[in-house]
Amino acid sequence: MTRMKALIGIICLSFLVAACAPVQPKREYVQRDDLKVDPEIRQSVQVQELLDKRVSLPSGGSLLRIQFSVQAYQDTNMEWAVTWFDEDGMVVPGVGEGYRPVRILRDQTRFFTATAPQEKAVSYQLHLREDRAP
């Protein structure tokens, strides 16, 4: 009986300790999805294509540019933003962090483009979410 209690005590304690230990983030580079669509709007819109290319500049450099198209099954207010990453996977800052609100009507397909703010951007993540503005 006492052994039983002690066992339970140890188990509880180990749970506690485990809870306190910090979760170690993965240190290596994670392959990110190019595209994230929030579940709230998956029912109403679909991303039909997502293209990227590098636009060459007069000095010989180039900038990453993406284009994507969205089709809606019903009138939808949504927002989108692109986050850019460099070779090491670090975020490349743009003008701001805000999302762009867009409204897509039923059966409408809209095309959007975005250009990276710096030449060092090599990858990106496009995020589509519900527009929650009141």
Partner: protein, 204 residues
């Protein structure tokens, strides 16, 4: 009729008491997750959108990419505030300047401006020349300030209309980049921001 009047008065009084009881509290807003209401006036989101639009267009146009690989030097000329609000046009230009500087394509001079230098220290630091109190090896020499290649100018316009029972406010962020060598506008951009809301009162 009379009693209705007094009664509605009391109802209104009670309602106003209740309203004042649940006052809002102050909190921080995260620009990346701001789902707050939109005002008819210009707010930070509008400036950010306009600046973001302008910078993307400017960079991808190649207008600020120097074939020699060096950075262009840009001066900020006048951005006219043609709205009905007392805004500071630096809210727009600063965002553009920061993004352009980060891109490595353009650097802005603070020694030249429409109303004189943006940073007075450009001149004041040079007044130390021949002052015995200062180690002259660190004092700026003559002929070191760089003249601008490009000039950014523009206008923020506001036009209001009544659309049925609502008020429509149209803002246009217009920007031009002039090549000072030729006087030609080598890049131009307009970002419209349109809002529709109640027409009860003025849009400022």
């Amino acid at each position: 009729m009379m009693l209705n009047g007094t009664r509605s008065l009391m109802v209104a009084a009670v309602a106003s008491l209740m309203l004042s009881a649940c006052a809002t509290h102050t909190r921080y807003v995260d620009p990346a997750a701001d789902d707050g209401p939109v005002a008819m006036t210009l707010d930070y989101r509008d400036f950010e959108r306009a600046a973001d639009n302008a910078v993307q267009d400017l960079l991808s146009s190649g207008a600020v990419d120097n074939p020699s690989g060096e950075r262009y030097i840009m001066a900020v000329s006048r951005i006219t505030n043609d709205t009905m609000q007392r805004i500071d046009t630096d809210q727009l230009t600063k965002k553009i300047r920061v993004a352009l500087l980060r891109s490595g394509k353009v650097v802005t001079t603070t020694a030249v401006g429409v109303d004189g230098a943006e940073d007075q220290m450009n001149q004041q630091a040079r007044e130390l020349r021949n002052n015995d109190e200062f180690d002259q090896s660190g004092v700026q020499q003559k002929g070191t300030l760089k003249a601008p290649d490009l000039s950014l100018s523009g206008k923020i316009i506001q036009r209001n209309h009544k659309v049925e029972d609502e008020q429509q406010v149209e803002y246009y962020f217009q920007l031009s980049l002039t090549d000072l060598k030729s006087g030609l506008a080598i890049w131009e951009n307009e970002t419209p921001i349109i809002k529709r809301g109640p027409n009860d009162t003025v849009a400022w």
